[in-house]
Structure formats: C-alpha cells, structure tokens
C-alpha cells in the first residue's frame, strides 16, 4: 500500500499541476477574448501565450496521468520513490525553462514547434537552443520514469501476461491480468516509443543548429517525427487517465472490480499497435506524403480509438445502468469524462477522415475536438483521481455536498467553450489566428462567448483547487 512518502510526493504533484492548470486556463481565456476582439494583446504576446498554454497543458496532464498510475501501481507492485522524485525535479526544471523561453525569450512556435520554424522566428537567439534543451530535460525525466515503472511491471508479469495475451485464448487463464496493468503497460510502451521519436527529433535539430548550414533537415521527415512525438504523447496521456478510471471507477461506485475479458485485451492491444501510425493523419494535406501512408493513417486513426472507446464506454455503462451506485464527485467526474471523451472522439474521427480533413484541417475544428476530450474528458479523469487521492490523504469521507452544482457548472462552462470552437471550425475559421480577418467577423463574436463560458469552467477549477489543496496539505501536517 501507499507509503507516506508516496502520498507526500503525489500531493506535491497534485498541487503543482492544479496551480499550473489555473494559470494555463487564464492564458487560454485571454487568447479567446483576444480572438473575440474584447482585449488586444500584441501578436507576440498572444503567440507566446498560445505556445506556453499548449506546452503546459500537455505537460501537466501527462504527468498527472503518470503520477496517478504510479500511485495506483503501488497496489500491485513496488515502484521506486527515487525515480518519482527524479521525474518531479526534472519536470519542474523543464517547466521553468519553458516559461523562461516563452515569456522572456518570446519564443512562439506553437507547442508543435514545426521544423524549420524554431530556426526562423522573431525571438531571442538563446530561446531556440534553450527550448530544445528544456524538451531534452523533460524527455529524460519522463523516459526514466516510464522505463522504471515498466521495469517493475515486468518483474511481476511476463510481457505476454502484461499484454493479457493469455485472455485472447479460449478457456479461463491461470493468471488474470488486471485491466489496470494491461492499460498501464500498453501506455508506458507507447510513451517510451514517442520519447525515442523526440530524441531523434532533438538530435536532428541540434545537428542542424551546430552545423551552421552544412547540414539541412528534410521538412517532411521532421514533420513526421514531430507528430510521431506530439500526437502520440497527447494520446498516451489520455490512456494514462483511463488506467486510473479502470482501477477506481467500480471501486468508488461500490461495484465489483473490472475483470479482464478478451474484448478488453483485444481492444487495448489494438490501441498499442495502431497508435504508432495514427499520427499520419497530421500529414493528410501534405500531398508529398506517400499515398499508402495516408490510407494507413486513416485506418490506424479509426482502429486505435474506436475499439478502446467502445470497450471502455460499455464497461462503464454496464456498471451504472440499473445498478446501485454510490455517486460521489470522484465517479461523477469519471462518468462525465467518458462522455466528453467519446464526443471529442467523434469530432476526431470526423476530422481523421481524409475527405473531411480537406476542409477541416487547421480550422478551429482541431482545437474543438481536442479541447473536448481534454477539458471535459481526460482532465476530468485526472481530477477524479486527485479528488479520490485528496480524500484518502485528507481523511474525510468521499461525499461532497456540492457535487451536483460543481458538475453542472463544469459541464455548462466546458461545453459552451468547445461548442464555439466547433461552430467556428465547421464554418472554416482558421485555428491559431490571434485576430480574425473581416470575413469571419460575425463568427468572432463566438470567441468571446467561448471565453465567457471558459470563465465558468475556471471558477469550478479554482473551487476544486482550494478544496483539494487543503486536503493534500494534511499529509504533511500528519507527519
């Protein structure tokens, strides 16, 4: 069971993440108001904010998932606390560097830093190398963390068992793999793969940086590597969130634990394989990408997401429908999160279809769908874990009399915010525009409306932060 040390560590993660989350949302709201012409940021200010918003959000929800998986893994295996501390320290250093790079260095490539933009922008000269270095620091911390956990999983389960392959055969297997272990293994391997892609990318960047012109990279290769890393990481962080859902949802609802079945095993093995080529859907509009890759991209996008989503949704629904459930903030967050994730997934599948992508690529449809499965999907999974953990640490019961109010405000704020993106996207408003040109002026009003809804969302998050941090701090005074 969780040691006091692990509880303290997890508390530090939770507090850090929530504080950064609030700041990043504030930036998001400012950007959206700027797009609605309600305030006027300088272009550099806007794009620096956009860059740090994206980087921070991806970073914190990734480590949130990791911290949760690390905490819950303790139920099955022992994970080194040293590695956790190491990851925490490197993450903090990396984040501080990134904030320096964007706000002092005015670095504003967007979080995807598409080659060769980092070499060709109007920012401080030191910003580009420091940015790449920051990515390196984060990458090392996260690589060691995920490899450490994977190592411990493999000490107890053979790889074939961790992948639950014995469940794919007929008959009931001797050793049952908990779904949590399967999903964690699949996800950790995916994370290692995309971090390796990031290393390659960084090597190529530095090679060009230090060669002073004698070595130039291929823009297409760099784009593929960028999305191999970026897309895959953004996807894996969702699966980390799902791992804690599989572990905790039935438990806090007062229902029997999820059992491994061949459906679950198959769906997650599917995800493990297909996720590695799904990122090709970012290159649909690069006509130079081989046609075969485009087809694989569309196929993989469907098969990486649909089976896992269907299995998870069905498992959650089967727990809830007509069953006695102990509703609390924790499982309501999980439950609503699954809904948001599925809706975002529908938006994603629409966009991952090449014939649609032709008119949706790089419009607001993109932030629309990923904000849906993040802001009202994955984030809620992690918040659910935070709430559960804080209650464990804080020693209070799992009831919260404001559950309904909080959830209602969160849903209204969150969906109002993303609906404005969807409408803009369907009607061709480009993403990543700091201000909208004349022809979209009627739609840019939606931006301010979106920002107002986001304020509601922010209010609930601040409320949640105050509650959670209070409980988390108790761990330290208890000692």
């Amino acid at each position: 069971m969780a040691t006091l040390q692990l509880k303290k560590l997890t508390s530090v993660w939770i507090i850090t993440i929530l504080v950064l989350f609030v700041l990043a949302i504030v930036f998001g709201i400012l950007m959206r108001f700027n797009q609605g012409n309600a305030i006027h940021l300088s272009p550099v200010g806007f794009y620096s904010m956009m860059t740090i918003h994206g980087l921070t959000m991806i970073g914190i929800w990734f480590v949130a998932g990791m911290a949760a998986v690390n905490f819950l893994l303790q139920r099955y295996i022992k994970v080194s606390a040293g590695i956790n501390v190491f990851a925490l320290v490197l993450t903090v250093i990396g984040v501080v560097m990134l904030w320096l790079v964007t706000f002092v260095g005015e670095f504003h490539t967007g979080w995807t830093f598409l080659y060769p933009l980092p070499f060709r922008g109007a920012w401080k000269e030191w910003a580009t190398p420091l940015f790449l270095l920051a990515l390196g620091v984060l990458g090392i911390g996260w690589f060691v963390w995920s490899a450490g956990m994977l190592f411990q999983i493999f000490r107890k389960y053979r790889p074939a068992q961790a992948f639950a392959w014995q469940h794919l055969r007929k008959g009931s297997p001797e050793i049952e793999t908990p779904p949590f272990i399967l999903i964690s293994t699949v996800t950790l391997i995916g994370i290692i793969t995309c971090l390796v892609a990031a290393v390659l990318l960084l090597v190529l960047y530095f090679a060009e940086y230090f060669s002073s012109g004698s070595f130039v990279n291929d823009a297409l290769l760099m784009k593929n590597l960028t999305f191999f890393f970026g897309h895959t990481l953004a996807n894996e962080m969702l699966y980390l969130g799902l791992a804690s859902l599989y572990e905790l949802f039935p438990e806090v609802s007062g229902r029997p634990k999820f059992k491994m079945t061949w459906y679950v095993a198959l769906a997650w093995n599917c995800t493990m394989v297909f996720i590695l080529t799904a990122f090709f859907h970012h290159m649909y509009m690069d006509f130079v990408q081989p046609f075969a890759f485009q087809v694989i991209g569309q196929m993989a996008s469907y098969f990486a997401s649909v089976p896992a989503a269907a299995v998870t949704a069905f498992s959650v629904l089967a727990v809830v429908i007509k069953n006695p459930i102990r509703w609390s903030l924790t499982n309501t967050l999980f439950f609503v999160g699954v809904t948001g994730w599925l809706i975002g997934g529908v938006g994603a599948v629409i966009d991952a279809t090449i014939s649609n992508n032709f008119v949706l690529h790089n419009t607001l449809w993109v932030p629309a769908h990923f904000h849906t499965y993040n802001a009202i999907g994955n984030v809620l999974f992690s918040l659910a874990f935070f709430n559960w953990a804080a209650n464990e640490f804080g020693g209070k019961g799992h009831t919260d009399k404001f559950t309904r109010l909080k959830m209602t405000l969160l849903i209204i704020g969150g969906s109002g915010f993303v609906i404005m993106f969807y409408i803009g996207g369907a009607y061709s408003v480009p993403r990543r525009f700091n201000v909208y040109p004349q022809e979209f002026s009627s739609l840019s009003i939606l931006a301010s409306a979106g920002a107002l809804f986001a304020c509601l969302y922010l209010a609930v998050i601040v409320w949640f932060l105050v509650n959670t941090v209070n409980k988390c701090l108790k761990v330290f005074s208890a000692a």
Partner: protein, 186 residues
C-alpha cells in the same frame, strides 16, 4: 455557409446528442447505493453486438470516404492554367511563371478560367505554410500544405466567378493571421 459545412456540424451534434442521451439514461437509471442488485441482463452478448456494429460502421465509413480523398482530384485532366505559388513569412507570391527565391514576386493579378481545371504548384521558401482557398462567402473549399523543399500540386475547378481568398493555414509566426492573397475567377 454552404451545405457541406452545415452537414458536418449537424452530423456531429446529432451523434453528440445520442451519446449524451445514453449516458444520461445510464445515470438516471442507476439506483441508490443501498438498494438491491439490478443491472444489465446479458451484458456480454450486448457488448459483442455493439462491438460488431461499430466495427462494421467503421469499415463502411472507410470504404465510402477514401475514394473521395483530394489526391485524385482531376488527375486525368490537363490543367488549362498553371499557377506557381511560393509562400514565405508572411506573404504569398503567385505567378503564371516559376518564382525564384531571390526575385521579387510579380505584382500582376491572377485570373483563372471558370469551369476548367487549374493547377496550383505550391512550395515555400522558408517554413511550412498552408495554402487554403476560400470562396466568396468565407468557406474553405480546398487546401494543401506549402512545405519547403517540395512542390505540392493542387488541382481544382472553380464553378462560380468572383474573388477567392488564399489564407495561410499552417502557423508560421506572429503575422500568420495576416498572411493572405487573392485571385479572380472569370
């Protein structure tokens, strides 16, 4: 705001309503935690059915949409006009002749014929840019990427005359939102 764009939005909202309805039903059908056991009958069978239907839907979606991918558009016709496009931070150069990086882009306005295939040969002189064609009512109708080191060819037939706008759809730096140009179809 034409039909295709509205259709996407409506389709999405219908699916959303469906998902929300299912989850809302599940939530409302759950019982107080003290009550006796209820639950789905035969969940495994239902799960299999759902899985089966979904996979079928995915495969059908795939086979229906793939042939409509833009890569095949007008591949067998000879373009009646060719336009060279070179993007750079933060402008587009368009010309009937090739454009070299060291020359100034010709200021001549581009005019394209209606109802005949035209070809855009798109590249970039610095970072990645997007080349997106918007019609008179602000709808995105066709796009490709402008990538340094590559020529991407986009073929299209313009059915109605008027002024079409080109916007950059790949983030390329701080004046990205102002990177645009236009041409006329007669």
């Amino acid at each position: 705001m034409d039909d295709k764009h509205t259709f996407t939005l409506v389709l999405f909202f219908l699916l959303t309503v469906g998902i929300v309805a299912v989850f809302l039903y599940a939530y409302l059908s759950s019982l107080p935690s003290s009550s006796a056991k209820g639950g789905l009958t035969n969940p495994k069978k239902k799960r299999f059915l759902l899985f089966f239907i979904l996979m079928e839907a995915v495969i059908i979606l795939f086979t229906l949409t793939l042939p409509r991918s833009p890569y095949f558009f007008f591949a067998n016709s000879t373009p009646s006009k060719v336009v060279f496009v070179a993007a750079r931070q933060f402008s587009f150069a368009m010309s009937y002749q090739t454009i070299a990086p060291d020359t100034q882009a010709p200021a001549k306005a581009i005019e394209l014929p209606r109802g005949k295939p035209v070809e855009f040969r798109v590249t970039s002189f610095d970072v990645n840019h997007g080349f997106a064609i918007y019609d008179m009512s602000g709808n995105l109708i066709a796009q490709t990427q402008a990538m340094p080191g590559y020529i991407n060819r986009l073929r299209w037939v313009f059915d109605s005359p008027g002024e079409y706008n080109i916007l950059c759809l790949e983030y390329c730096g701080m004046a990205h939102a102002f990177m645009r140009t236009s041409f006329n179809v007669k």
